[in-house]
């Protein structure tokens, strides 16, 4: 019966006005194999979004930083389901990081953290 409660909970969450969320797994590649710190990446992502869509857009996107694995160069962001395209665009428009050429590519978009964890475990094992 757990799925019934899970479904009810999800419905309640959407009804409560929080809205649907999406989790976005991204991969960062920086020139010369440089590995930036998580805080630097977070600032770059937020700045890229703010530059493109402004502060109002940033607040509407409900952007949240979940985490960044420096060794794997993979990070997870959360946003409103309406802002997935904008977030992808903001990440794609990031061409520099810390004065070096950089590339941020979306690996996967998911509705739950669990699904992303599965992708992450696949990446770790490969």
């Amino acid at each position: 019966m757990s799925w019934v409660y899970a479904f009810w909970e999800m419905k309640a969450v959407v009804k409560a006005g929080r809205g649907k969320r999406r989790y976005l797994l991204f991969h960062l590649t920086v020139e010369g194999g440089f590995k930036p710190e998580a805080e630097e990446v977070r600032k770059a992502v937020y700045e890229a979004y703010r530059r493109l869509f402004g502060l109002a857009g940033l607040s509407q996107a409900e952007l949240a930083w979940i985490g960044y694995m420096e060794n794997l160069e993979l990070g997870i962001l959360r946003c409103s389901h309406r802002a997935v395209s904008s977030l992808r665009a903001a990440l794609a428009m990031t061409g520099m990081l810390g004065g070096r050429k950089a590339r941020i590519c979306t690996v996967r978009v998911s509705g739950t953290r669990k699904a992303l964890k599965e992708v992450l475990s696949q990446v770790k094992s490969s």
Binding site: T29, E31, L52, V84, S85, S86, R88, A89, L91, A92, M93, G95, K101, A102, R103, C105, T106
Partner: protein, 240 residues
Amino acid sequence: MRRFIDLQVRFPETLGEAELLARHLRKLCFKAAALTVSTPRKPEGLQAVREVFAKYGVDAPLRLNLKPKSSAELLEALRAHRRSFEVVSVVCLGKQAARQAAKDHRVDTLMFPSKAVRLLDEAEVELARVSGVAVEFSLSMLLKLGEALPAYLAEARRNVKKALKKGVPLVFSSGASDVYGLRAPRDLAAVAETMLDLPDPVKVSTVSHVPMAILERNRGKLSSSFVELGVRLLGDESRG
């Protein structure tokens, strides 16, 4: 399954660079990438580069970017080089050349860098529609604009709307000069959607169906079995 193609990636200078590019393109799920040159002659080591790309399962057609100053210069370049390249694009810098490029069916895509985007007006769109020429935007071009990006996008959005209304095909490419300029195909589509206000079905076709159709059409024309549009030699399997 969708086949994604990046219609503009700079031709690699070394085999090592080619291998790196091919590996990254494969990782990003591209089936093909048009290797772009700006000078109208076949680059050295083309076959070796193509073999490297084939090793990673990425098709590597050759593309020429022309920057004509006049329509006469454009016509001369097309006459001389069209059959040596699978894709030919024109970077429109002046009105005369832009109009000529839009009405010439030998041109595949038109690009409008910085202030030249105002050349993409209704007359240009109509000419492009009749001759089947696509309008192309690239991520590298947008990134280079810097402070001029908002003004460029405002003009581009207006003109893209006209192009879509008339049914002119749109292409979005990375314009990458190295691996850091490459992006995932759906990320490119997302940039096209948000920056140019493209509707949902159109955005993904700018990196898949439209460029793939251009490539296949041109390959058909370049094959030995091609006679003219709609006429092809059949029966002899040894031919193209």
